[in-house]
């Protein structure tokens, strides 16, 4: 255990030192005044708060050094509230520190453990209670009760079943079909190859199904596609993937294969796509191969071509699920 003999003894609680306010009635009166002034400042701040609420227009802006243009209504309303609270607090603490007793007192601790006799009594009472109910003897009651309570506990899980449908194949499909035109987002205009300059990027969606007037967020979350135009010779693709491009235009799902953020940053000089959430970096020239970051899969590529009117269309739907991974993704 600890050292048998402590080398240095506990000198005990230091003697209480009197404060200026304890001995000098003038100092005490001064402290009282200070506390009162703090409380008054709080009251004044509340007046500022009420004044700002009613009489400073929400459209007034003022210039404050270091902070720039500020909405005066918002600023003074806030400052009024802040100081009305702050000065109450400062006043109360100043009061406690200068005028209330500052003599430290000692209280004693007791062990939390109950006495042995209390413990014995408790065990006895519990046992007697259990015996009186016949928990030990009447096993039929015990078992059927267990069954009943267990089953009741299961029922809420059933009730939660209708929180949502099961996924089915929905996570694996998008609105893209063979022949879907690529339209601008926003604007819903079909795109011709010549609309895209070399080095430019466009965000697109599949054209709206007949009868729909706008894209739902549920659709955008799976359908968003980025179009990027390079010089055809800049690609480093196999023959199949190259056939999915059109005159240097390549299309990828914009939904990150890592966690589903929009892969929105395109660096023209390196031809890299970067996801701003977790910095997964994809090489556009190599079919969005992951070259850095936590994403494990390239962005799905959409095969594109042009239709007879010369607008860009999808050759086929995506050949793999878009967006973040899930357990049955490859099934």
């Amino acid at each position: 255990m600890s050292n048998e003999i402590e080398a240095i003894k506990d000198p005990g609680l230091p003697a209480h030192k009197l404060r200026q306010t304890d001995v000098d009635p003038k100092a005490a009166a001064r402290a009282e005044q200070q506390v009162a002034i703090l409380f008054l400042l709080s009251a004044l701040s509340t007046v500022l708060f009420i004044f700002s609420y009613f009489f400073i227009s929400t459209e007034t802006f003022i210039f404050i050094p270091l902070m720039g243009e500020q909405n005066a209504h918002q600023l003074f309303l806030g400052l009024g509230l802040a100081f009305s609270l702050l000065f109450i607090g400062l006043g109360a603490v100043h009061w406690a520190k200068t005028l209330m007793p500052d003599q430290e007192v000692i209280a004693h601790r007791h062990e939390f453990r109950s006495s042995d006799s209390d413990r014995e009594d408790f065990v006895k009472t519990a046992k007697e209670g259990a015996a009186a109910a016949g928990l030990g003897r009447r096993s039929l009651i015990k078992r059927t009760l267990g069954l009943a309570v267990g089953l009741v506990g299961v029922s809420p899980i059933f009730l939660l079943r209708d929180l949502g449908p099961t996924p089915g194949d929905e996570l694996k499909t998008t609105s893209w079909k063979a022949g879907s035109r690529l339209v601008t987002d926003p604007g819903d205009r079909p795109i011709r190859p010549e609309d895209l300059e070399i080095g430019s990027v466009a965000q697109t969606l599949p054209e709206l199904a007949p009868g729909k007037d706008h894209h739902s967020l549920n659709d955008i979350a799976k359908d968003a596609v980025l179009l990027i135009r390079l010089r055809p010779e800049e690609f480093n693709l196999d023959a199949e993937r190259l056939s999915w491009t059109y005159e240097g235009i390549i299309a990828f799902s914009k939904i990150c294969s890592h966690m589903g953020c929009a892969v929105a940053l395109y660096e023209q000089s390196t031809k890299h796509l970067l996801c701003p959430c977790h910095q997964s970096t994809f090489d556009v020239t190599r079919a969005a191969k992951v070259i850095f970051g936590p994403a494990a899969r390239p962005l799905p590529q959409l095969a594109i071509t042009v239709d007879e009117e010369g607008y860009l269309v999808a050759q086929a739907p995506f050949n793999e699920p878009v967006g973040p991974s899930f357990w049955g993704r490859s099934k």
């Binding site: 230091p14 009305s84 209280a107 967020l217 589903g260």
Partner: protein, 528 residues
């Protein structure tokens, strides 16, 4: 007796005859609380919770937790005519049409940040001073629960306005859920009522955010405080302070004034921040749409470490028997946080197992006197700090003109290498401080005065330290490591040898210390 006293007496009599409160109040108004600045950290958390309840209630009067699509017609010009969810539109209305609404939103958000910061620093104080030891293990576990719940509550809260930034956060949470083997996509479909983002998510998390989780908070905080009250507060060591007493000021009047005043100070400072420091300007982000994102997407700071871990994860995603296992999400998003928080919750029991100490402790440790624990804390902090830094790697890269790839590689290597280094350095530092304490007790304080001895030698005059200081530096216990017998009385090896060997190693490491001065040491010094 004045009229006022008579009325007060009548009221007190009326209440006491029905509740018997006087006896309880008499005892508890004199309750003694020890004084130390670090004991106010938990108070800040408590007061921030009250501020959150008040400002949050205000916000509910106008907030419309619905994902119904509306066209914005409010006074903020840049967004006029745009389609958005009713939730986002009403959050804009609170900011621009309701007088004091923006102030309340900012107070709510600032106090959430302060709440979490206060919890974390309070937890560090409790950890480094050993305040979690018996009999306070329950309160430690409740505290870890409150921290975890706070992270969830905060995340749900900043997701509610349904702006572009918060929607992105929800998308990431959905991806973590979806990565869970076997049931992930089902869980996601149940939570979102179908495919992401759906139309049910905001109303559902609203119920969680304003009802269920605050209710659990309230219950846990009540138990937390009742235990503090019942078990009495720990105190720092010092003259007159023992394991058997509490030295401090009585609740009435000093603590009522100080703690009550402190509530107003915390509220005032939060309101000041809300007034002058803009936070989460949702109108700049625009409404959420899954096809867009703002650069430099950052979660609130208490989620930053989690995002940082996810960012640095290597791209491992095996497909096993045709099933995809997203280890790049599961390890940083669920497994490591699970291990960290479980380990944190169990730490009091782990330390008890190592030391074999089953006694109550009410006197706090000076962190240097528990080198192993302090080093472990420094190690965990280093881990979290690197994760947090990596969570802001994009901002660091743009602000300091660094390469994001280099920061990521620094974090990937650093998170493995630096925590052990932090452990070793901290442990050595603690032992050095112990040695310095020992020197101070034995040889006193350096005065800076040089004296020439008759022999011509110069020596510095040392002055003995005060008995109070000497006591503070030597009052701690120095226990020998737990003795474990490898063989029992009959000379047969005990079962679980590996476990007991491990325990022995830990016990020895935990008990490493610089011996404090003994009676002999002091006597020897006196002879000089």
């Amino acid at each position: 007796m004045s009229a006022r006293e008579r009325i007060a007496g009548n009221v007190a009599n009326y209440v006491d005859e029905r509740t018997g409160a006087a006896a309880w109040m008499k005892k508890n108004l004199q309750k003694v609380f020890p004084d130390h600045w670090s004991f106010m950290l938990g108070e800040i958390a408590l007061y921030s919770f009250v501020i959150l309840l008040l400002s949050g209630t205000f916000l509910t009067f106008w907030f419309d937790p619905s994902m119904r699509e509306v066209v914005y017609e409010g006074s903020y010009e840049p967004l006029k005519g745009l389609e958005m969810s009713a939730a986002y539109a009403s959050a804009l209305d609170i900011s621009f049409e309701v007088r004091g609404g923006l102030l309340m939103r900012q107070i709510h958000h600032w106090s959430a940040l302060i709440f979490m910061a206060a919890i974390v620093v309070h937890l560090l104080r409790v950890f480094f001073t050993g305040a979690f030891r018996k009999p306070r293990e329950f309160n430690w576990i409740i505290g870890v629960g409150l921290l975890t719940l706070g992270i969830v509550e905060g995340f749900l809260g900043y997701s509610l306005p349904d702006d572009l930034l918060s929607g992105t956060g929800i998308r990431i949470a959905e991806a973590i859920l979806q990565a869970i083997p076997l049931v992930g996509s089902y869980l996601s479909y149940f939570l979102f009522g179908g495919v992401f983002p759906g139309v049910t998510f905001i109303p559902r998390i609203y119920t969680l955010h304003i009802l269920i989780i605050p209710g659990i908070f309230l219950a846990l905080i009540t138990v937390h405080l009742m235990l503090v009250w019942y078990q009495k507060h720990t105190q720092y060591p010092g003259p007159g302070r023992t394991e058997k007493n509490v030295v401090g000021y009585p609740l009435m009047p000093v603590y009522m004034a100080k703690a009550g005043g402190f509530f107003f100070i915390v509220f005032g400072v939060t309101a000041f921040l809300g007034a002058v420091a803009s936070i989460n300007p949702i109108w700049l982000y625009g409404p959420y749409t899954p096809g867009q994102i703002s650069a430099g997407s950052q979660p609130d700071w208490y989620m930053g470490w989690l995002d940082g871990l996810v960012r640095m994860a290597p791209p491992i995603e095996p497909v096993i028997f045709g099933y995809t296992l997203s280890l790049n999400i599961l390890i940083p998003g669920l497994i490591i946080p699970g291990i960290l928080f479980t380990g944190m919750a169990l730490y009091p029991f782990i330390e008890q197992w190592i030391t074999g100490d089953k006694r109550e402790h009410h006197l706090l440790d000076r962190p240097r006197n528990a080198p192993n624990r302090t080093a472990l804390g420094a190690m965990a902090l280093t881990f979290m700090l690197i994760a947090l830094i990596n969570g802001g790697n994009d901002l660091i890269a743009t602000n300091f003109d660094l390469s994001i790839n280099q920061i990521m590689w620094f974090s990937r290597i650093g998170i493995i290498v630096l925590p052990p280094i932090a452990f070793i350095v901290t442990k050595r530092l603690c032992l050095s401080l112990q040695r310095a304490d020992r020197e101070l007790v034995l040889h006193g304080r350096e005065t800076g005065r040089l004296v020439m001895m008759p022999s011509g030698e110069f020596v510095e005059v040392h002055e003995p330290i005060s008995p109070e200081k000497a006591w503070l530096l030597t009052q701690h216990e120095q226990n020998a490591p737990l003795q474990l017998e490898e063989k029992d009385a009959r000379g047969v090896r005990r079962p679980g040898l590996l476990k007991s060997k491990l325990r022995k190693r830990f016990a020895i490491a935990h008990a490493e210390q610089v011996a404090k001065p003994t009676v002999e040491d002091l006597k020897e010094i006196e002879h000089h």
